[in-house]
Amino acid sequence: MSDREPLFSSKNIKLLTNPLNVDNPITVQVLGICSALAITVKLEPSIVMAISVIVVLSVSNVVISALRKMIPPRIRIIVQLMVIATMVILVDQVLKAFAYEVSKQLSVFVGLIITNCIIMGRLEAFAMSNRPWPAFLDGIGNSAGYGLILIIVGFLRELLGSGEILGYPVFEKIGIYNIGYENNGFMILPPMALIIIGVIIWVQRSRTKELIEEN
């Protein structure tokens, strides 16, 4: 291979950065919404979920990309699912061993990473037709884009809904409860997560030129 491109060519950097903004899995592709609604009540589970998805997606992207020439096209979905499921079980076991409380909070949603549309989508759309290194970057980029939104939503919901950040009672320390402030119970309910994501999409679209649609 004489036309070997550098590891971090501009094309590869794009794989990493595009999903953070103009090609964000949640706000632009609108994938993986269900888990974003379910586990973002607090910031901590959101962060753990983001890391889990980063691990699962980047590793399975690399594995599928390495195997891509050996996988018979007719059973590729099954093979992809096998890889994802293996990774998810590994992540689940690690969480249970080292972060039991969070893993209990996340409950079935760790297992449900298997059905997260972002992961299947990236394997099918990218890893099946690209080399392992770009596939790895693509996996990191997409899952980081997903995690970014998760963390923003989780931060807002925990702060406004429970008055805490990572369990630290910020609002109580500042003392705004004394002047009549109250936590917003709506923030804890899933509909508010949808509304927050909607507002993020709104802000993103009005700030990013590429995303503004012509009427």
Partner: protein, 384 residues
């Protein structure tokens, strides 16, 4: 009037294109056309216009809400004095209530109109007057003790998320006033339910006479305390605890007459919603297994916000069904769901708000099928 017109004409050039305040053009126009019917003529498209434009329609609704508002102010004072065991004249009661309700109205209007004007400047379109009505309806459907900053937050939420993101007045799916109430209800349930928030001063408990309960008739009925229910006449007249403007059925009926007479509110929706509520109430009576199911069906119409919802909320021309047959279905289902949620779901003693919001969402679907059915019928007539 004439000197005002002259003044408006004098400052007008400042606001037109190239003028000093051209950025505030839409604000100026909003105030101008609020005071005077614009004399512009259309240059293309349809030339025939109804004399009743949106601003006049909105003013009529606000006028229709005034009886409920005045009664609500008096009732606020009356309930407060009842709770502390004081005798007071009608006038004293009214002034007390007026001073308690006025801040809520001011907050609702300042926040809502502020956002409307800001959005109009940013988008460069005319200020829509839709908020004139929402601004008066929001204070009428909240408990008198609700903190003002919550009213402000809920109003902002309703105007931005409930209305402006869909494109402003006329484009919203959900009734903005009810959106504000739903937001308050889910965000701060402690201030929107229970038996202390409905009467001014009961939350702090200062000077309240022993054994006084501020529970609404609905709360008592839901708790199975039928013997504590006020008399039918009291509930009809409205001398009961409740949200500011929703208690008096008489005052609401006066508003209903104004709305129906001017053709702004649809009598079909009001009538069919009452019919739906009654039908569901009779159904519960027939299969009653608890005291709440046993209360007379027509009591549902005079308790809680049913009357207010049917007259002022369900009839909102933007969010209601548009077709004539659709209005019957829409109202009837809203009535059924209101009583259903009320009686079956203990978490939501007041089902009217949720029922109307639900039917708001379904209104376009109802219209679609009514139109489809009509097309089908006419096609059959041609073919036969």
């Amino acid at each position: 009037m004439k000197s005002l017109r002259k003044f408006v004409d004098k400052i007008k050039p400042n606001f037109s294109k190239g003028g000093k305040f051209s950025k505030l053009h839409s604000t100026f126009e909003a105030f101008e056309s609020f005071l005077f019917v614009p004399n512009r003529v259309t240059t293309k498209g349809s030339h025939i216009r109804d004399a009743l434009d949106m601003k006049r329609a909105m003013s009529v609704v606000v006028a229709a809400a005034v009886p409920a508002l005045l009664f609500g102010m008096w009732n606020t004072g009356y309930q407060h004095n009842l709770s502390i065991g004081m005798e007071a004249t009608i006038w004293e009661n009214f002034v007390f209530g007026f001073l308690k309700v006025l801040p809520i109205i001011v907050v609702s209007y300042v926040v809502g109109l502020g956002i409307e004007f800001a959005v109009a400047q940013i988008r460069g379109h005319e200020v829509n007057e839709g908020f004139l009505v929402s601004g008066i309806l929001i204070p009428l459907i909240v408990p008198v003790d609700v903190p003002l900053w919550m009213v402000a937050l809920a109003t902002a939420f309703a105007v931005i998320i409930g209305k402006e993101v869909f494109g402003g007045t006329g484009m919203n799916i959900l009734n903005p006033a009810l959106t504000a109430r739903a937001f308050l209800f889910f965000a701060y349930p402690g201030w929107m339910s229970g038996d202390t928030v409905w009467i001014q001063g009961l939350t702090s408990g200062d000077g309240v006479i022993d054994g006084f309960s501020g529970a609404t008739p609905l709360a008592n009925a839901a708790a199975g305390l039928s013997e504590k229910l006020p008399s039918t006449w009291e509930m009809f007249l409205g001398t009961i605890p409740g949200s500011i403007g929703e208690t008096s059925v008489i005052a609401i009926l006066i508003g209903a007459v104004i709305l129906v007479a001017t053709g702004i509110g649809s009598w079909k929706i009001m009538f069919s919603m009452a019919a739906g509520g009654l039908a569901m109430g009779f159904l519960f009576n027939a299969f009653a297994v608890n005291p709440f199911m046993e209360i007379p069906a027509w009591h549902h119409l005079i308790m809680g916000g049913f009357a207010f919802g049917a007259v002022f909320m369900a009839t909102d021309p933007v969010t209601a069904a548009q077709t004539e047959r659709g209005k019957w279905i829409y109202g009837f289902l809203a009535g059924i769901f209101a009583v259903l949620i009320r009686v079956i779901n203990p978490a939501y003693p007041e089902g009217v708000m949720l029922a109307i919001l639900l039917m708001n969402v379904f209104a376009p679907l109802i219209d679609h099928y009514v139109i489809e059915a009509n097309i089908k019928k006419r096609r059959q007539r041609i073919n036969s």
